[in-house]
């Protein structure tokens, strides 16, 4: 019972990480790909939008990982062993992304140096989601096997399959889509800039379709359990919901209803990850590790549930306050003294 509550919290944290932290990575991708006459303005707007919030958004990932090792310790141990390589690469990406972002901001030297930090920031933002998608995809492939918590399939299983790779690309496009969509709202005072992000959002939104199809098609051979999940009774409902959100987002972007576009895009991501969660159940690492056989003793799970509830009650208002405070650019640009 408690293990499912915590699993639900983990899924929720993962969704919020994708919606918020993912969009910050998307911002980095657009920083790297900034072009046209307003490239510098694009970069500046992205940096302003994510500066105050990226550290808070990043904590969702830490929460997922902490909950994983507290509530499902054998799953954590197996995961960190089997996926040691892509996780290490992802961590290097996370370190470089965060550091380069802050270094660029505070490096008061000439444009050249700042440009280099920008490139590091962008490249790390580009590679990290790719690995994150691959890691998540690898869990589902069924190729990571273990006996009594000891991984027996080595360090290369799962994460290099076509399915995992297409999950990586999917994460990348999804994050870029989210970021561009959010930025259309943030730049509402500057129509030119808003248009730039609108075009990027539309492009990504359209790309998502074929990439999602690739994930689905590769899952048949690459993640049979997932494929079976996606063909159960609830799957058409979920697919309909996701498609509806996706189409609404595209239409809203096209018609410049940017507030609606943001809600629809967020809804789309939420449904995709919820669908993944349902298709994944009961496995944490398909097929040997389940939420039930890897759960910590009930005393731990019960306390964790209390702590999560209390933490949510205390922190959510603070988080809303943060987002409310920085939802729009400050008059006169950068808030830094």
């Amino acid at each position: 019972m408690y293990e499912l509550i915590i699993a639900a919290f983990m899924l929720l944290s993962l969704i919020l990480y994708a919606l918020l932290g993912g969009a910050d990575f998307g911002g980095g991708i657009w920083d790297l790909l900034a072009c046209g006459p307003r490239a510098e303005k694009q970069r500046k707007a992205i940096a302003e939008a994510i500066s105050p919030i990226w550290e808070a958004n990043h904590v969702w990932l830490i929460l997922v990982i902490v909950l994983l090792f507290s509530a499902f310790p054998p799953a954590f141990a197996a995961l960190m062993t089997a996926l040691n390589i892509p996780i290490t690469l992802m961590l290097i990406g996370i370190v470089l992304r965060g550091s380069a972002f802050i270094f660029r901001k505070y490096d008061s030297q000439g444009k050249g140096v700042r440009h280099h930090w920008g490139t590091v920031f962008g490249a790390a933002s580009f590679l990290t989601p790719l690995f994150q998608g691959m890691i998540l995809g690898a869990l589902t492939t069924g190729r990571i096997r273990g006996v009594e918590g000891q991984v027996t399939t080595g360090f290369f299983a799962g994460w290099q399959t076509p399915f995992a790779l297409s999950c990586g690309v999917f994460a990348l496009v999804l994050f870029a889509f989210l970021a561009a969509t959010y930025m259309t709202l943030y730049t509402r005072a500057e129509p030119d800039l808003q248009n730039d992000f609108r075009r990027r959002a539309l492009g990504c939104g359209l790309t998502l379709g074929p990439v999602a199809l690739a994930v689905f098609l590769t899952s048949k051979a690459g993640a049979p359990e997932m494929f079976r999940g996606l063909t159960q009774w609830w799957a058409p409902l979920l697919l309909a919901g996701t498609s509806l959100c996706a189409l609404t987002a595209l239409l809203a972007l096209w018609r410049r209803w940017f507030a609606l576009a943001r809600i629809a895009a967020a809804g789309q991501v939420m449904l995709i990850l919820t669908g993944w969660g349902f298709a994944q159940y009961p496995y944490l690492i398909t097929p040997d590790v389940t939420f039930h056989n890897s759960a910590a003793p009930e005393a731990t799970l019960r306390l964790l549930t209390y702590a999560l509830t209390a933490g949510a009650v205390l922190l959510l208002p603070a988080l809303m306050f943060l987002f409310h405070l920085f939802s729009h650019p400050e008059n006169g640009g950068d808030a830094q003294p």
């Binding site: 105050p52 550290e55 929460l63 990982i65 090792f69 965060g98 910590a296 808030a335």
Partner: protein, 434 residues
Amino acid sequence: MNDLVFARSQMAMSLAFHIVFAALGIGMPVLMCMAEALHLRTGRLVYLDLCKRWARGTAILFAVGAVSGTVLSFELGLLWPGFMKEAGAIIGMPFSLEGFAFFSEAIFLGVYLYGWKRIPPFMHWLSGVVLACSGILSGVFVVTANAWMNAPAGFKRVGEKFTEIDPIAAMVNPASFHEVLHMTLAAFVAAGFAVAGVHAFFLLRDRRSEFHRAALGIALTVACVSAPLQIVSGDLSARSVAKLQPAKLAAMEAHYRTEAGAPLYIGGLPNDDLKTITYALRIPKGLSLLVAHDPTTRVVGLEDFPRADWPNVRIVHWAFDLMVGCGMALLGVSAWTGWRWWQKRPLPEGGWLLRALVLASPLGFVALEAGWVVTEVGRQPWIIQGIMRTAEAVTPMHFIAVPFVAFTVLYFFLAAIVILLLRRQFLDIPDSTT
């Protein structure tokens, strides 16, 4: 075997790197809040300027601290899956609570750094107070998890299995109180003296700078109050370690022979084979006095433990002496500062005191790092004292040298950049003539 060495090295290097940022993340918000409070009370702009400049430095430190902390939370599993598989359920609780405290830190750091013009001044200061408290709490929770590794509690061991798990009892284990106290004070000592040293350096060039005078006053208040308290807390810690981990204490003091009225050795060259120490300063009955405040007490030596259970005596003993030496030096500087303050003589005019403060600037961090070496190397060969050996916990992964080298290079690079950027934050400070 080599992989174990590299796994330990990678963990040690990651912790040694992160702890600097973690300590500053605890100390700096307190300094910032003090400066901002002084600004709100006196209306003097120099305090506001100071607070904003400290905040900019903190933004850089915090970002690097957050990402290096993330690396650590993964490394627990990447390097020590055998440990986390068993311990996750027992000490996951403090890590989860730390997650929330860190969340609160990240939220209020954002509000504090970027909200200057968006919220009223008092609210801004209040968000700084929440930031400071969350920082302290984060540290407290993480240290209780480390304390559990030194004094495991809150479970029963049946064969290979851990049963009857009680996460609360694990969190308030016998080592928690003294470790938490010692580490929290260490963060204030290290941050306080590091900051004081920087401003003392600039004051030596320009004695009348209002900016650096204000900064020195605040930093020294924190540093000189916590340094003497730290000595008291250190005494408490040593006596707790003597009870909880006698082998660690024996290694700290290079104390081989079990005896009553044990002497205290300072420095020297411990020799495991001969169970002696040469070239050391010997204080008769010193160890017995230290451990029990009684010169006749019998203190257990390393000879009572199987050789396979000894930590590396030289590293632990030297690190311990280094830590205590730094602590004593800082106590001396604190006393000197306090003496000048008592005589109501302005601090910035004491050129020799300023020079001493510059020299003492890194000592807090040296002590902090040395102290963690004592804690961690002193616990070896155990990852969970008396329960699980480090070698049993290590990942089956090979070529750990590769990530070790990668992260070492990355962290050295980041450290160099951070130092460069922090230095630059101070170069454009207005001097007294403007």
